[in-house]
């Protein structure tokens, strides 16, 4: 009986998760602090990806990944899962350092600012979401804000605030101290990742409008007329705004919301396009990957994979890496769209690929995370 009690206690203790407490982070270190690195959503890495990638480590979290991405800081990676948890992974020791448990689903990428982690959970059995500001050094929550509706749109971090866009089209500006500065309602269903330049934030909604709002005071500065519903994400580069819609059109607007060009594909686009100096690469739900001239919208190549592309690719100087829900990672040559390599996984690819300190991170079914290192 005594033995059984001890065994049960051990099981109980070890199965309780540790919170994320990180005391040894180097605050001067580099990192990727939000989805797409910058408020404009930059998925370009100005480096060559070598041919040989070697398997470094496979991590397993207890939940399942969303169709978002990861953030990194110093030696740590952070990701959320659909059972409401946030994980911190020590890339040095290759272990999961801690977990913040919540009830619901984390659909969007967390944001890091100094020693604070900002994330939002879409709550289970509730019409609300909750925005958290967690200090992983002090192990305390500085803020927990109830947000009506779902939050499945990626947050934007600027120098002084975080912008959170809920599914009912309400934009919240939250200070880095975790206080709401202002709220702007648009009363339009919104499932689109917004992006921001120095002064404004842009997003699309289910009515097919692209909306421009001032970062400063939240005033609506413009909106396009209604087209097809937009559920793709916004990417901004050099004053051009790129977004895909449910009819499969990839549109380019200027910051005055005038349409510059449009390219028609065959199926819905729900992810952010990735943009480099000259090209824009994106995928649609039919599994086709397109490369266009980003200034004129002319087709350079198409690759038809037969899968489903619902996450954002990342572009290197030579290759583009695309995660496919059809259990594959595609490595595509930028110049001609030829499939250079393909990795088949055990499950569906869920996360947009991430690249940090020489490692490529691929998240797929059942909470599996693959780290590939190049040499």
């Amino acid at each position: 009986m005594k033995q059984i009690t001890i065994i049960l206690l051990i099981i109980l203790i070890t199965s309780c998760t540790r919170q994320i407490i990180i005391n040894d982070i180097n605050t001067n270190s580099e990192g990727l602090f939000q989805f797409g690195k910058t408020p404009e959503r930059d998925f370009y890495f100005d480096t060559d990806l070598p041919d040989s990638l070697i398997f470094e480590k496979k991590y397993s979290i207890s939940g399942s990944f969303n169709n978002s991405s990861m953030v990194f800081y110093d030696e740590y990676a952070f990701a959320g899962d659909l059972s409401g948890n946030i994980y911190a992974i020590n890339l040095d020791t290759k272990k999961i350092t801690g977990t913040q448990n919540n009830k619901g689903g984390v659909f969007v990428c967390p944001i890091i600012n100094k020693l604070r982690l900002f994330y939002v959970t879409d709550n289970l059995d509730s019409r609300n979401s909750t925005f958290y500001m967690y200090d992983f050094y002090l192990n305390i929550y500085h803020a927990k804000i109830e947000i009506p509706g779902s939050c499945r749109n990626e947050m934007v971090k600027t120098n002084d605030a975080i912008f959170l866009l809920s599914s009912d089209g309400t934009l919240y500006k939250i200070s880095l101290m975790g206080e709401i500065i202002w709220i702007r309602k648009t009363n339009a269903t919104t499932y689109c990742n917004p992006a921001a330049d120095e002064s404004n934030i842009y997003w699309g909604n289910s009515s097919g409008q692209v909306i421009k709002v001032s970062l400063n005071d939240g005033s609506i500065l413009g909106q396009t007329k209604q087209y097809t519903a937009i559920e793709g994400g916004i990417t901004i580069r050099d004053g051009l705004i790129y977004v895909g819609d449910n009819a499969g059109n990839l549109s380019c607007f200027n910051t005055d919301l005038q349409k510059i060009w449009e390219y028609q594909t065959s199926a819905k686009i729900i992810s952010n396009p990735a943009v480099s100096d000259s090209i824009i690469i994106f995928g649609n739900l039919e599994g086709n990957i397109y490369c266009l001239d980003r200034n004129f919208g002319k087709l350079i190549w198409i690759l038809k994979t037969g899968g489903i592309i619902n996450t954002t690719p990342i572009i290197f100087k030579n290759f583009t890496v695309v995660a496919d829900l059809n259990k594959k990672i595609h490595f595509i040559k930028n110049e001609d769209g030829k499939l250079e390599k393909q990795i088949e996984l055990e499950g569906r690819c869920k996360l947009s690929p991430s690249f940090f300190k020489g490692s490529l991170f691929i998240g797929y079914d059942r909470g599996n995370l693959l780290e590939l290192k190049y040499e």
Binding site: L82, S83, D122, D125, L285, G307, I308, G347
Partner: protein, 943 residues
């Protein structure tokens, strides 16, 4: 009824087989699912599917494969999801073969067009003649596949503990919403529901769960959501499914409004759409005279001559589809009640196993009537005399599986009809009475149907989807020149035109046309106002559909129409308004360019592969229980079967040890295989049992027995109603004698039995209502080694149900059970299932007889009590007045026992029936009643 995924008949048979020592008293009845054919299965492997087909269905299977891949490409976008595992699609070339499938254990009614079975993820689809319908059903079922996969992944991804599914109306509504556009069937049902007050809002839609109205309301609701709240909302509902326990909350959250508000808006939109129709169109009951009162009535056919003016039709009035006749119908048109006579009874005998009431299956000439019935594995076209109903000719051919729409030539020398063959081709055939020859007129994958002869019997007019060009794929009318062997268009229009019929004087050609989503009767003629172009003019303009019709003359028509959710026959007389009605002209210049359905491109490795049995687990359960009296018990049961469901294995393992030292010897194992691929169903297996058994001979006695051996059983269905059963088991037993636990008896028991079973009963919610069931069994049990046991068994159990009204019956039962010889087992009676009032199993004897008479009737159809915070409803409470009598003895007859009383029954979710009886026992060898009443509550179906 299903238990553990097997129907109750087979489950009980298996259970009894597993015991090794059969208890024939517990065998049951039931109809038979007969495998008339052995199919030679092949596989096509596409990118996402394994497609199973058989015999010559290859060409259609390749077309179906293309449809499936096309649907996959679309659905993965709609669901933002892919199905990782390969999807098995099983195609049957006709509905008749589909009914033989073993992928589902139960019977498949005529109206089922396909299903998705989620244990093995199989999609099973019959081909019904039309490629467009084939495409629709494939897409419909694949929506189920994607939805199930998506939601199961959601539950798993969000780590939700409970498995949950959306309500049935959403599941089916979504499948229709994403597989087809709004069509005439949908429009017919919704118009009728809204205008006639049958519409049920979403918050109450459980009331119509499982009905066709539910399917269409679901589809309509999703269309409304899409239009009112946005095209993305349906997808959002699916994406939000994980968030709430109750589906209503998911809807409210996604749409941002309360259900009551959403319902009001939906209902308002439907009323806006349909109520204005009352301005321009008429209901059948207003513009026509209703001729039938009860049931579902189809295929009206008129004979009109000097001697006879009768109306024949196919109807299901009492639970059996049959052919009825109204004599002198014309005079009775304006009487309030015309009483139909039963002409030919269907569905009670194997000869007329099933009439296909939803298809045109009846034809009339001056002397003969032709009708289609299922007979064994295919349809037969019967020709019988109009006067006396005697069958004169049977038309069947191995190449014709499904037959429909027969039509006589004017000289009665020929009969033309449509049939589906082994390839799945729906074509026109011609039967000549002179030499009994069958000639094939068309031979391709286009759906050719509803053929009729012209006046000269030289040309055949029929409907087909072979329409080319601008209106490719639509059903139009064609004329086949029999002498030249060529076709030409009669109509060319973008609506479906079917069922051409000439008026008796051949001056008018009528047809059915689906214009603006509703099917009405039109007529064809050249129009002098349109440069003598061929046109069609609308004859009827009803709110809901005309399904079938027969012209009395150029002005009067009898037809089958749908209204108030029933199908009745109506008489219609044209009024002067006809000339003011719609006209459609035909422009034939667009009719070029044959349409060819897409077919899958296959490599040689991917097509026509031979089927090899692939086994997967159907069911696996294990349990450990601890009881203060009996100690700890544990066990596991799992079953596996092949993909087609023809071959099943069951493994049962449990332990009944009460102390640790007994564990090894108290393992109980049974392994059974049942193969139902062919007509003879074979089962065999081995077993080992060790543990305490309940002694049937004496009450409350247990004894210890170890028994091991094997068994074999054979079930041979003679027809869907009748079968032979045979079983053999051999068991080595070692048991304690209850009289003296220190003595054990060993034996090597050989048990044989053979039975004849018949069942054509029709069921109501709690038991049979009509028909007959009987079982006759002979058996023999002997101890081969020690001669300790040696007896023969005879059982005769006869039950008949005399229908007294639509829902009431007098049920009669008489049975005798005999075991005679050395150490025969005892039969038992007593309890709610036989001798009511007497304690359960208290009446025992080596011989037993039972008789019962029970009057069954409905009491309450539906009752709903609304409490402040919830509602409680029950439906189908039925009553019974009964009389039971019986007796049991070993060597000398003891006494006759009986009981008398009444009770109520309630069917719970079609899984179980609860019963409560009150009455008096008849005691003392039937001399007096017990002083007080007995009250007995139990479960179980009526006998």
């Amino acid at each position: 009824m299903n238990i553990l995924g097997l129907n109750i008949t087979r489950f009980l048979i298996l259970l009894l087989l597993l015991t090794g020592n059969t208890y024939p008293q517990l065998f049951s009845f039931g109809r038979n699912k007969v495998q008339y054919e052995s199919f030679n299965w092949k596989i096509i492997k596409t990118e996402h599917f394994d497609i199973y087909y058989y015999d010559e269905f290859g060409e259609m299977a390749e077309i179906g494969a293309a449809y499936a891949e096309e649907a996959y490409s679309e659905l993965k976008v709609k669901f933002n999801h892919n199905v990782i595992n390969r999807i098995p699609l099983i195609f049957y070339n006709t509905h008749l073969h589909f009914q033989q499938t073993n992928t589902l254990p139960g019977f498949i009614p005529e109206g089922v067009g396909g299903f998705f079975e989620f244990i093995k993820g199989r999609v099973v689809i019959p081909f019904l003649g039309s490629l467009e319908e084939f495409r629709h059903v494939i897409r419909h079922e694949l929506v189920h596949v994607f939805m199930t996969s998506k939601l199961m992944n959601q539950v798993r991804d969000h780590r939700l503990i409970e498995e949950k599914y959306p309500p049935l109306w959403f599941i089916e509504g979504l499948a229709e919403f994403w597989s087809t556009s709004w069509d005439s069937k949908a429009e017919m049902v919704m118009r009728d529901a809204v205008i006639n007050g049958l519409f049920v809002p979403v918050h109450n839609i459980d009331r119509i769960s499982g009905s066709f109205l539910m399917y269409k309301e679901g589809q309509s609701f999703l269309i409304f959501i899409s239009e009112e709240y946005g095209s993305t909302k349906v997808s959002e509902i699916i994406e939000n499914f994980w968030k709430f326990k109750k589906f209503e909350d998911v809807l409210e959250f996604t749409l941002g409004e309360k259900i009551a508000e959403i319902d009001k808006k939906w209902e308002y939109s439907l009323r806006k759409r349909y109520f204005p129709l009352l301005n321009k169109k008429k209901p059948h009951a207003i513009d026509s005279k209703k001729l039938t009162i009860d049931g579902y009535n189809f295929s009206p056919r008129i004979i009109s001559n000097a001697k006879d003016s009768s109306l024949f039709y196919i109807a299901n009035v009492d639970g059996y589809s049959s052919i009825y006749k109204i004599e002198n119908y014309y005079e009775k048109i304006f009487e309030d009640e015309s009483v139909p006579k039963l002409f030919i009874r269907g569905e009670k005998t194997a000869v007329f196993e099933s009439f296909h009431i939803f298809q045109p299956s009846l034809a009339i000439s001056q002397k003969y009537i032709a009708f289609v019935s299922k007979n064994e594995g295919s349809d037969v076209l019967y020709i019988c005399s109009i006067e006396d109903g005697n069958i004169l000719t049977e038309i069947k051919h191995k190449k014709m599986i499904s037959i429909k729409s027969p039509s006589f030539s004017n000289d009665n020398k020929k009969l033309v009809f449509s049939a589906i063959d082994n390839k799945g081709f729906s074509d026109i055939f011609l039967f000549s009475f002179a030499d009994s020859s069958i000639q094939r007129i068309t031979d391709d994958y286009y759906d050719d149907k509803d053929p009729v002869f012209d006046q000269n019997n030289s040309d055949i007019v029929f409907s087909s989807d072979r329409t080319e060009g601008t209106h490719a794929g639509k059903y139009n009318l064609f004329r086949y020149d029999y002498s030249e062997g060529t076709y030409e268009y009669i109509t060319y229009v973008g609506y479906d035109i079917t069922m051409p019929k000439f008026s008796p004087d051949f001056k008018t050609l009528f047809c059915l046309a689906e214009v603006n989503d509703i099917q009405n009767i039109w007529r064809l003629e050249t129009d002098s106002l349109s440069n003598n172009k061929m046109c069609m003019f609308k004859v009827t303009d009803f709110i809901t559909t005309v399904l079938d019709y027969d012209p009395i003359n150029n002005e009067e028509i009898v037809y089958s129409g749908f209204e108030e959710f029933s199908f009745h026959l109506y008489y219609y007389k044209k009024s002067g308004r006809d000339s003011a009605r719609e006209k459609i002209e035909f422009e034939y210049y667009g009719a070029f360019g044959k349409w060819i359905p897409e077919s899958i491109n296959l490599s040689s490795e991917a097509g026509g592969l031979e089927y090899e049995n692939e086994y997967t687990i159907d069911y696996a359960v294990s349990q450990v229980i601890t009881d203060p009296v009996y100690g700890t018990r544990g066990g596991a049961l799992f079953t596996l079967s092949d993909l087609l469901g023809d071959d099943r294995y069951m493994f049962l393992l449990y332990n009944t040890a009460e102390v640790q030292s007994e564990i090894l010897q108290n393992f109980n194992i049974a392994i059974t295989r049942v193969n139902s691929e062919k007509r003879s169903n074979i089962g065999y297996g081995i077993f080992h049992y060790n543990g305490r058994r309940y002694d049937i001979r004496e009450s409350d006695e247990f004894f210890y027995e170890r028994s091991y051996g094997g068994f074999f059983s054979l079930i041979y269905p003679l027809s869907v109603f009748r079968r032979l059963e045979a079983s053999v088991s051999i068991a080595n037993t070692d048991k304690e004698m209850p009289e003296n636990l220190f003595i054990s008896q060993k034996s090597l028991l050989l048990s044989n039995s053979i039975s004849l079973v018949f069942d054509n009963s029709l069921w109501m919610p709690t038991g049979p209502l009509d028909g007959t069931r009987y079982r006759v069994l002979m058996g023999y049990t002997t101890d081969l080694r020690y001669s300790n046991i040696n007896y023969y068994s005879i059982i005769a159990d006869f039950r008949h149900y005399l229908r007294t009204s639509f829902r009431s019956t007098l049920a009669l039962r008489t049975s005798i059970y005999i075991n005679d010889g050395k150490q025969p087992r005892r039969y038992f009676a007593g309890g709610s299932w036989d001798l009511r009032g007497w304690p359960r199993w208290s009446v025992r004897g080596e011989k037993l007889w039972l008789s019962s008479a029970e009057f069954r009737f409905p009491i309450i159809d539906q009752i709903y009590i609304k409490f402040p915070f919830f509602g409680l409803g029950v439906a189908g409470i039925r009553g019974a007045l009964f009389f039971d009598a019986g007796g049991a003895w070993d060597s000398e007859y003891d006494e006759t026992l009986g009981s008398l009383g009444g009770g109520i029954r309630l069917n719970l979710f079609n899984i179980i029936a609860l019963r409560y009886d009150v009455g008096k026992k008849i005691e003392n060898d039937f001399k007096n009643f017990q002083p007080r009443l007995f009250y007995q509550f139990f479960f179980g179906w009526d006998f």
